[in-house]
C-alpha cells in the first residue's frame, strides 16, 4: 500500500477504531492510541518526498505527497503527536466520552498530515476543514460553562478563514485553470497584479486565522486555554503551524519569488504588532494557561515576521522558530496540564511552590521557558539570533526594535510562569500534591532534552530545515553544525557559549556545595526574614496578585496618551460610526453566519470582476 494512504489510514481509520476500542475497554483504547501515534510517526519517517499519489477529478488532477517544504512541518507533527498522545493517556484518565475525544484528536492529526501532503488546493481545503471541525468539537468536548461562546468565536474566525480560502481556490481555478499548488506557484508570475493581490490576500487571510495574526487572533487565547492540555500542546504547537505553512507558501513562494515584497513587509509588521501585544496581554494574565496561550500568539508573531521579511536567513529563522515553538510550547502545555491534573488549578493566585512536589515537571518547564525566552545556551536563542540578525542585516530595524521590545517584555511572563506555579512560599493546601505519572513527565523531559541539544548543536535540525528551504526556492543554504552566521559575515559559535556556561556552572556548583557543606542547611519557606516576625501557619506572604503592577503602571500613560491622541485626531464624529458598527455584533450565531455568507458573496463578486 502507498505509505501516504497508510499514514492517512492510521489516523482516520485509527480514529474510528479508537472509537470502537474505547467502547470495549479503556485499556485497549489507551494502548491503541499509543500504538497509533508511534506508528504514525514511524510511517511518516518512511515516506520519502518522491512518494506521491495522483488521481483526477472533474478535469483537475489532484494529488497527495509531501513536498520538501511541508516535510519539516510533518517532522514537527510526528515528534509532537505521539508524545502528546502518550501524555494524554494518564492525563485524560477518568474523563468520560474518551472515545469521542481520541477519535477527534486523531482526526485532527490526520487532517494536518493531509494538509501537508496535499498537492492541490482542493485536497488541502478538505483536510483543512476536517482539522478545523474536529478541533472545534474538541473545544466543545469539556462541556464547561461558556464554552459555546468560545467555540462560536473559534468557528466564526475559522469560517472567515475557510471562506477566504475557498474563494481564493475558486479564483485560482478560474484564472489559472489548475488546482495544483506547485503549478499555481509557478504560474503566479503570469497573473496581473490585481489577481495576484486578490489571491494572495485571500490566502493570507485564510492561513492567517490559524496562525493567529493580529487582527485575526481573537479566537486563539480562549481556544488554546479551554481544550484538554494534551490537545492544547498540539493545538498551539502544531496546528498553528499549518497557518505558518500556508503563509510560507503564499508570501515566499508566490510573492517573493515573483518579486512582490511589499505584502510580506506588511505581514511582518502585523507579526511584530502581534508579538508585542500578545506579550503585553500574556504579562497581565492570572491564569497560567491563558499566559501560555497569549504567549503562543506572541511567538507566532515572531514567526510570521520572519516569513514576511522573506530573506533567506529570516525564513530559515522563522521555520526554525516554528519547529521550536512546537517543541517548547508543547512542553509547557504538557507541564501546565500536569500541574492542573495534580494540583487542580492553574491560577497564579492559587498555585504556589510546587517545585518540591513536581520536580520533573518544573525541570522541563524551566528548560522550555529558557528556550522560549531565547536565552543562551538553549535552542530558543538560536532562532532569536537568526531572526534579529536577518532583520538587522536586511534593514528592517524598526521591526526588530518591536521584536526586541516584545521579547524583553517576554522575560516578564516567562518569570511569572515559573514563579507563580513552582516557586514562592509553600502552602499547606498543596502538601499532598504528587509528581505526575511517568507517562506524563517522560514526554516533557524528552522534548526538553531536544531543546538542550539543539541549543548547542542546532545543526541537527538545520539539515532538514535546509532541505525544506529548497521547497521555498532557497537552494544554496549553507549551515554549520554549531556556528551561526549572518549575511555580514558575523558569527556566533554556540559550543563556546554552552561550554563556558556549563563549565563555570558545574565548577562553582561543586565549590559552593563543598565549601562548608556541614554548615549549610535547608530551611522552610516560612523561615524568611520578615523583620523578625515569625509567620504563623495561617500567614502566607506569597506575592502573586498584580505581580507586574509597576510595569502596567509605567506603560499605562503611554497607552492612555496614544489613545487620547487618536481620539483627538479622529474627532468626535467617529463615535457615531462606532455606534453604528456596534450593531453588527449582535451575539447571535445566525447573524454571524449571515455576515460570513455576505462576506463570501462579496468576495465572489470581486472574484467575478477578474474572471
Amino acid at each position: 500500500m502507498n505509505t501516504l494512504v497508510l499514514l492517512l489510514l492510521i489516523f482516520f481509520g485509527g480514529g474510528l477504531l479508537t472509537y470502537l476500542a474505547y467502547k470495549i475497554s479503556k485499556v485497549v483504547g489507551d494502548i491503541l492510541i499509543a500504538i497509533l501515534g508511534l506508528a504514525g510517526a514511524y510511517v511518516f519517517f518512511t515516506v520519502s518526498s518522491q512518494t506521491s499519489l495522483t488521481f483526477s477529478l472533474g478535469g483537475f488532477t489532484l494529488g497527495l505527497g509531501f513536498s520538501e517544504y511541508s516535510w519539516i512541518f510533518g517532522l514537527l507533527l510526528s515528534i509532537l503527536a505521539p508524545l502528546a498522545l502518550i501524555y494524554s493517556i494518564p492525563y485524560m484518565k477518568g474523563h468520560d466520552r474518551l472515545e469521542w475525544f481520541y477519535m477527534l484528536f486523531l482526526f485532527v492529526i490526520g487532517g494536518m498530515f493531509g494538509i501537508l501532503m496535499a498537492k492541490d488546493w482542493v485536497t488541502l481545503f478538505i483536510f483543512w476543514e476536517i482539522m478545523t471541525w474536529s478541533s472545534y468539537l474538541i473545544i466543545l468536548y469539556s462541556r464547561k460553562k461558556g464554552l459555546d461562546k468560545i467555540g462560536l468565536k473559534y468557528i466564526f474566525f475559522s469560517a472567515i478563514g475557510a471562506y477566504s480560502l475557498l474563494t481564493a481556490i475558486v479564483v485560482i481555478g478560474g484564472t489559472m485553470r489548475t488546482l495544483s499548488i506547485a503549478e499555481t506557484i509557478s504560474l503566479f508570475g503570469v497573473l496581473p497584479l490585481k489577481a495576484q493581490l486578490l489571491i494572495g490576500i485571500l490566502l493570507i487571510t485564510g492561513f492567517g486565522v490559524k496562525a493567529a495574526v493580529m487582527p485575526l487572533h481573537v479566537w486563539a487565547p480562549d481556544a488554546y486555554t479551554n481544550t484538554p492540555m494534551s490537545f492544547s500542546a498540539i493545538f498551539s504547537g502544531a496546528m498553528s503551524k499549518m497557518g505558518i505553512y500556508g503563509l510560507g507558501l503564499v508570501v515566499v513562494n508566490m510573492y517573493l519569488n515573483h518579486g512582490i515584497g511589499s505584502v510580506g513587509h506588511w505581514l511582518a509588521w502585523f507579526g511584530a504588532f502581534t508579538a508585542l501585544f500578545g506579550t503585553f496581554y500574556a504579562v497581565v494574565q492570572d491564569d497560567a494557561r491563558k499566559l501560555l496561550a497569549w504567549s503562543s500568539v506572541a511567538q507566532l508573531g515572531y514567526i510570521v515576521t520572519g516569513i514576511g521579511i522573506g530573506t533567506k536567513l529570516a525564513v530559515f529563522a522563522a521555520l526554525y522558530l516554528a519547529l521550536l515553538h512546537g517543541l517548547f510550547k508543547g512542553t509547557l502545555f504538557m507541564a501546565i496540564g500536569a500541574v492542573e491534573r495534580q494540583a487542580g488549578t492553574t491560577k497564579f493566585s492559587e498555585l504556589r511552590a510546587l517545585i518540591r512536589k513536581m520536580p520533573y515537571t518544573f525541570l522541563s518547564a524551566l528548560i522550555a521557558i529558557i528556550a522560549l525566552a531565547g536565552i543562551p545556551p538553549l535552542a530558543g536563542f538560536v532562532g532569536k539570533w537568526m531572526l534579529y540578525e536577518s532583520l538587522i542585516t536586511s534593514g528592517h530595524y524598526w521591526v526588530v526594535i518591536f521584536l526586541f521590545f516584545a521579547s524583553t517584555a517576554g522575560f516578564l511572563y516567562s518569570y511569572r510562569f515559573l514563579f507563580g506555579v513552582f516557586l514562592g512560599q509553600e502552602e499547606d493546601d498543596y502538601k499532598d500534591v504528587k509528581e505526575a505519572p511517568a507517562l506524563m513527565t517522560l514526554p516533557m523531559l524528552l522534548l526538553a532534552l531536544v531543546l538542550i541539544v539543539l541549543g548547542t548543536l542546532p545543526g541537527f535540525i538545520f539539515k532538514p530545515l535546509a532541505y525544506s528551504m529548497q521547497g521555498l526556492g532557497f537552494t544554496d543554504i549553507s549551515y554549520h553544525m554549531s556556528v551561526l552566521t549572518n549575511s555580514w559575515g558575523n558569527s556566533v559559535s554556540l559550543p563556546y557559549i554552552s561550554w563556558t556556561l556549563a563549565t563555570v556552572f558545574v565548577l562553582f556548583l561543586i565549590v559552593i556545595t563543598w565549601v562548608n557543606h556541614k554548615g549549610t542547611h535547608n530551611v522552610s519557606t516560612k523561615d524568611i526574614h520578615t523583620a523578625g516576625e515569625p509567620p504563623s501557619e495561617e500567614d502566607n506572604y506569597h506575592f502573586a496578585l498584580d505581580f507586574y503592577k509597576p510595569f502596567m503602571r509605567s506603560i499605562a500613560p503611554v497607552f492612555k496618551y496614544s489613545i487620547t491622541r487618536i481620539y483627538n485626531a479622529i474627532g468626535r464624529g467617529i463615535e457615531d460610526f462606532f455606534e453604528y458598527v456596534r450593531r453588527f455584533y449582535t451575539g447571535n450565531a445566525q447573524t454571524y453566519a449571515l455576515y460570513v455568507i455576505i462576506f463570501f458573496a462579496i468576495l465572489l463578486l470581486l472574484a467575478n470582476q477578474i474572471f
Partner: protein, 184 residues
C-alpha cells in the same frame, strides 16, 4: 624548606585569616529596638563615619554579622530579636547598647522591659551609657573587633552549647512560644 605545617598550625593560620576578615567587615543588622537607635545615624554618617572602620549596615539578618540591641527591649520586641538573632549566620555577634541592656537602666521597674539582655541572647560587648555617645559606640565596636581578632567573641558558640538554658529564660517571658525551630 623542610618545615611542613602540621594540621594544627595550618588551621591556626586559616583561623587567623578568617578572623582578620571577620573583624574588618562588620555588617550590622539594622533593627532599631529602643531609643538608642537614634545614636546610630550620627555614628554611621559623616560626623563619626563608622564605615571607615569597616562597619556598615546590612538590610537583613541573613547578611548581617552584628546585632545591635540599642537600648531597652520590651518583651514583645525580645521575641523578634531572638528570631532575628537566630536567622543570622554564624559567626554572629551581639552588642548590648546602653544601660538598659545591662541592668534595665531607667526602666528597671518597668513590667514590660527586660533587665538583663545576657540572659536571653549571648552578648559579646556591652556599651555603657544612657545613651552612649557615638564615640562610645565606636569604642565598643573597636573592642569587639579586638575580641574577634583574638578569637574571643564566641557568644554564638556559647548560645549553641547552652541553648537549653537560653530557651528556658526566653520562654519564661514569652509565654506563647510559637517559633520555628533553631535549625542551624
Amino acid at each position: 624548606m623542610n618545615y611542613v605545617l602540621n594540621d594544627r598550625e595550618s588551621s591556626k593560620i586559616i583561623e587567623f585569616i578568617k578572623n582578620f576578615a571577620r573583624k574588618n567587615s562588620l555588617w550590622i543588622a539594622a533593627y532599631g529596638t529602643g531609643c538608642g537607635a537614634i545614636e546610630i545615624p550620627p555614628t554611621m554618617t559623616s560626623r563619626y563615619d563608622a564605615e571607615r572602620l569597616s562597619i556598615r549596615g546590612a538590610a537583613t539578618p541573613r547578611q548581617a554579622d552584628v546585632l545591635l540591641i540599642t537600648g531597652y527591649l520590651a518583651v514583645k520586641t525580645l521575641k523578634r530579636v531572638i528570631r532575628t538573632y537566630e536567622q543570622m549566620q554564624d559567626p554572629k555577634y551581639v552588642i548590648g547598647f546602653g544601660s538598659c541592656t545591662i541592668n534595665g537602666g531607667m526602666y528597671w521597674d518597668s513590667y514590660n522591659t527586660i533587665k538583663q539582655l545576657g540572659l536571653y541572647i549571648p552578648v559579646d560587648v556591652y556599651i555603657n551609657g544612657c545613651m552612649p555617645r557615638p564615640e562610645a559606640v565606636i569604642a565598643g565596636f573597636a573592642k569587639l573587633q579586638e575580641m574577634i581578632g583574638k578569637g574571643e567573641a564566641n557568644g554564638w558558640k556559647h548560645y549553641k552549647e547552652n541553648l537549653e538554658w537560653y530557651r528556658q529564660n526566653q520562654q519564661r517571658l514569652i509565654k506563647n512560644w510559637k517559633m520555628p525551630d533553631f535549625n542551624w
